[in-house]
């Protein structure tokens, strides 16, 4: 067996993050790290080191699905792993994300008042007022509620597909995963152009 490294325990961070949001929604801001770290690693490193090594969410699904046997371990249906679905989900995710940012802006501007709720699956509004203690500006809290909604929604979707298919099924359509892979492919093909070389798919080895 391979020896476990410190980064094999980052699932603890992911689980703690979700729990902290129950007590104080402002912790949701920390989740921005899960957006910037993978993107920076992809843009500057040109690889998916985040997915491949550090992502605690992937580890959490792996742990629950394999060690706790909470997964049927069946093949994922073809359409869920199709490019069309993966990119479609990425675009949908982006739209919902910008809508969330716009909501934050409206609260910042004073057009809307703060809604102390977490929206699950972009539809179900769960009251979450116990987790906000009035210690931050309303827009700061609004962003936290919105961001936590994104994180909770993706966790729920991930848990459902983990149970139905293989443990890390979420990784097939995870917007961060799709985005970082796209960046890596774009980066590689651009490097190829720079060297006046045609971008060719590496032969199967």
């Amino acid at each position: 067996m391979k020896k476990k490294k410190w980064y094999d325990y980052l699932w603890i961070v992911s689980a703690t993050y979700l729990i902290l949001g129950f007590f104080n929604i402002l912790f949701a801001w920390i989740g921005l790290l899960c957006f910037f770290i993978p993107l920076l690693l992809a843009i500057f490193g040109g690889d998916k080191l985040y997915c491949n090594r550090y992502c605690g969410r992937g580890q959490l699904f792996d742990l629950l699905g394999n060690k706790f046997h909470l997964s049927r371990k069946k093949d994922i249906p073809g359409f869920l792993r199709s490019k069309r679905f993966r990119y479609g989900f990425l675009i949908f995710f982006f739209i919902m994300f910008f809508q969330m940012l716009f909501n934050t802006y409206l609260v910042f501007q004073g057009t809307n008042s703060l809604k102390e709720a977490v929206t699950l699956l972009w539809t179900f509004r769960l009251p979450w007022n116990w987790a906000y203690h009035g210690t931050a500006a309303p827009w700061v809290a609004q962003f936290a509620f919105g961001f936590y909604s994104v994180m909770l929604t993706s966790t729920v979707l991930g848990l459902v597909t983990m149970a139905l298919f293989k443990p890390r099924s979420w990784c097939v359509y995870c917007p961060m995963g799709t985005m970082t892979q796209t960046i890596c492919k774009a980066k590689y093909s651009c490097m190829g152009c720079g060297r006046k070389k045609k971008y060719r798919r590496e032969p199967l080895t």
Binding site: D62, C171, C174
Partner: protein, 66 residues
């Protein structure tokens, strides 16, 4: 001599998640430049763990002549 089994990745459909690399006991498969997984066929012992772990089910075990 009996045919050996080696892992083979359908690189066009690989999502580069790295679940295979984490599952491989000898580090014979890794994600290459964040794009897709590559198997080091010289080292792969054909145990099939990567095939089981791959969430996109894009790894198949292929019989090769030893």
């Amino acid at each position: 001599m009996a045919a050996k089994r080696k892992a083979e990745v359908d690189q066009k459909s690989c999502v580069a998640c790295g679940a295979c690399a984490k599952a491989c006991p000898i580090g014979a498969v890794a994600v290459w430049k964040g794009m897709w997984a590559k198997v080091d066929t010289g080292r792969c012992v054909g145990c099939g763990r990567c095939e089981k772990a791959c969430p996109a089910s894009v790894i198949r075990m292929k019989e090769v002549e030893a």
